[in-house]
Symmetry: C2
Subunit: 241 residues, 2 copies
């Protein structure tokens, strides 16, 4: 059966023809934290229904947004991962996710809502300018409200992996998502979150210093003069200060 389209010659409507159906963009979000197996997705995306998930993955594959790959032995399982076009799509979702954080999240987790630390980190990671990490590498273990994920900084590349680091981490950051959201909204700055103990950081001081340097442009310190939260880069649009 032919796909339903809006029949408009417009970038937005064509995008929505491709990725505007239910679940599609959340599947793309999952791939932002690395390659995933079919059952990884079915596991995380509660409520999706196995038929629909299979259909969506097939569409994403046909549209050149993900590719299927067989992992080398001994794993030999099949995974899907983003193509370059898929990664550009993922980047295009960042402002929409930030709009949701700023205007729809409200800092409160609704009853029954699931949470995964990588959902927060993948968008944060896309905002980071990895330039200052040239020649360095570090693994940061995040634990946000029962959920764990890792942020890897390896020589100008920032990646996110769900769960606990198998080989240990250079530093560990622990906090609750209310604090994380407040940081993202700009109502709290990283230094005072650490000072007040709302976020705890342990590990290699040099690694932590690098992390703070990378996060500084993304989560700017609150403006002292106006009391207004600094939100400089959170819009991620083309305007510059």
């Amino acid at each position: 059966m032919a796909r339903r389209t809006y029949n408009q010659f417009c970038g937005l409507s064509r995008s929505l023809d491709i990725v505007g159906e239910r679940w599609t963009l959340l599947i793309v979000r999952e791939f932002m934290s690395g390659p995933k197996r079919y059952t990884d997705l079915a596991d995380v995306l509660r409520g999706v229904g196995t038929t629909l998930l299979a259909t969506r993955i097939r569409q994403l594959e046909q549209d050149g947004i993900v590719v299927r790959r067989t992992l080398p032995p001994p794993a030999a399982s099949q995974v899907y991962e983003l193509t370059p076009v898929g990664h550009e799509l993922a980047q295009a979702l960042v402002p929409l996710a930030i709009w949701g954080i700023r205007h729809q999240l409200g800092g409160t987790r609704l009853p029954g809502e699931t949470y995964r630390a990588e959902w927060t980190l993948v968008f944060l990671a896309e905002l980071i300018d990895a330039g200052p990490s040239a020649g360095r590498h570090a693994t940061y273990q995040f634990r946000i409200d029962e959920s764990a994920a890792q942020l890897h900084v390896h020589d100008q590349k920032v990646t996110v992996v769900p769960g606990e680091a198998a080989d240990g981490a250079d530093a560990t950051l622990t906090g609750d998502f209310a604090t994380v959201v407040e940081l993202a909204l700009g109502g709290l700055d990283t230094a005072s979150a650490l000072a007040s103990g709302r976020i705890t950081a342990d590990g290699d001081p040099a690694a932590l210093e690098l992390l703070l340097k990378l996060l500084e442009p993304v989560l700017p310190a609150r403006s002292v003069v106006t009391g207004e939260p600094g939100r400089r880069d959170l819009n991620a649009t083309a305007d510059s200060p």
Copy 2:
């Protein structure tokens, strides 16, 4: 009836809970070219179905994305327009629209597809840094493949209005959308599009000069050295050159 949600504590999924249903984001796009009446929307959004359109507008109103306003006499008709939060949403759509232009539009208008010049211009307008327009004002009449829309530059503000300017324009730009898409993709630069006659520009030279200055950072000239199209700002993400 309760709205269907993804039940995930994540900015993206919350955004999609609010604006991820069919037609919603295209309605938001319509408001990017100014306030609209109910029937304006029904007219442009072919296929939407009057009930669904009413439902979507009500949801957008409840969610603080649009407001209803009664136009002052003698018009006295009701219009809807974006709130500040709604405008932030619109800005967040720009990268998604550009992804669609770059990867899904392909320069060809499919049979049966409708086209409106304002669909192109609203996203272009959001990319423009209006700083250089301080103290100046100009109206540019665009005619792209049978469809007309105006770009207004008034002292640091860029707005788009559908149709023909009632009071005339300072300059008129005419072209076909194949050329416009090529410009957006970076395969063609503004100067050679004008030189080759694929786009014609008439009117006040000073106004045209201002337009070119405003568009230059958005549609950068093709790199002479590599032959690679310059696409600097088209991603509209946080990375800088």
